[in-house]
Symmetry: none
Subunit: 227 residues, 2 copies
């Protein structure tokens, strides 16, 4: 729901595992925090407010199960995904983990790629369940189509429907030049006939409202988002 990078907390008592996983998740663009035992995991969870927590089942102080149970009893973490890791490939703990409110369960040895694609799949599914589509973010400019909201460096700008749709169309494929015809058929549809100047006027309004030149004119061709 937040238009920020996805935050993941990794809790495991084996430094090697933490290192490998966090390396790969960072490379995949996630924002990472780590913890070495169950108690630390809970503390960090409260401060860091991650979107997803990866918990080793076997940890000192509090096991992953205990942490999971704690998090699930606290409404602050209603929307936090919990992925449990275990060395055992044992059915009972697998089921137990899911019943305690875990969202996924991965057995060691862990393949970072598999872990990343599982987490990605979970987020994808949740976003689509919540009716979200893709949020565009560049240089402090955020365009959120589910909320019809545009903000620049934290300040909100209210765009009209057509303005917003036009901006989103261009921004969703940053750098690509859209011909006037493409824009017309995408935003207005193939059967509606409007003049060419109409596009210009909307582009102008977007530029004026945001106060930045995020849309570049490609003379004789069309427009592109470049920011």
């Amino acid at each position: 729901m937040a238009d920020a990078p996805i935050k993941i907390l990794i809790a495991d008592d084996e430094p090697d595992i933490i290192e490998i996983i966090s390396f790969h998740l960072m490379k995949a663009g996630f924002d990472i925090a780590t913890a070495r035992d169950g108690s630390e995991a809970i503390e960090k969870a409260k401060l860091f407010e991650p979107d997803c927590i990866i918990l080793d089942v076997m940890m000192p102080k509090r096991t992953g199960f205990e942490v999971c149970e704690y998090l699930r009893s606290n409404s602050q973490f209603d929307k936090t995904l919990i992925v449990l890791l275990t060395a055992l490939n044992d059915e009972a703990s697998h089921i137990k983990g899911l019943e305690l409110g875990g969202d996924d369960f991965v057995s060691k040895p862990i393949s970072p790629k598999v872990l990343i694609s599982r987490i990605t799949a979970l987020f994808r599914r949740i976003q689509s369940a919540a009716g979200d589509s893709k949020i565009v973010t560049t240089n402090g400019l955020t365009i959120n189509p589910a909320q019809y909201r545009t903000s620049l460096n934290g300040v909100q700008y209210i765009l009209a429907k057509k303005e917003f749709e036009l901006l989103y169309l261009l921004a969703a494929q940053k750098g690509r030049v859209f011909l006037r015809n493409e824009i017309l058929s995408q935003i207005w549809g193939n059967d509606v006939i409007v003049g060419d100047r109409t596009i210009d006027v909307h582009i102008r309004k977007i530029r004026a409202k945001l106060g930045i030149n995020c849309i570049t004119t490609v003379k004789g061709v069309g427009y592109k988002f470049d920011y």
Copy 2:
């Protein structure tokens, strides 16, 4: 909004597997349909409209991957969960499956209990992402769907049924814009026909009763809760 039994389609070419899985899933209260190959899976999916499809990767006619790809390219199945089954415990196909839009990936031999708990966990997570039946609290405003009660800074406000449902629908997914059509189908259902002004009037009543502007109009699009 409908609390009908959850429908699951199982597609596998091994009759034994189908039998075992469908037996356990039925026992767990799901509504089951089956298919023996990829093509049949697609046909049945269209007719049966399952909430979840369990696909064996290795199937005649069309593989599970192909079926998955097909389903994901068809917006009718946007909200359908896809669980892939495979005999291979091979990382590449695991990742491939998730990238094709699968939601979970389970390796054979399959434990029915594990399968059920994974499916249950997925549904649980999706429901909560979609804003299911939880008390909403923001800035002193509390909306309790179990009791149909609303209070603002400790003071109770009595909303009528439709007013309450409308407020809750929006508030459960704060920030998200709901199209008028979405609102109509969620609150009134797909077969009831009411005029557009009806929504406005209820929105107005909510705003008047609470005395705050917790619902924002997004002109030409719909409404959103923002408070």
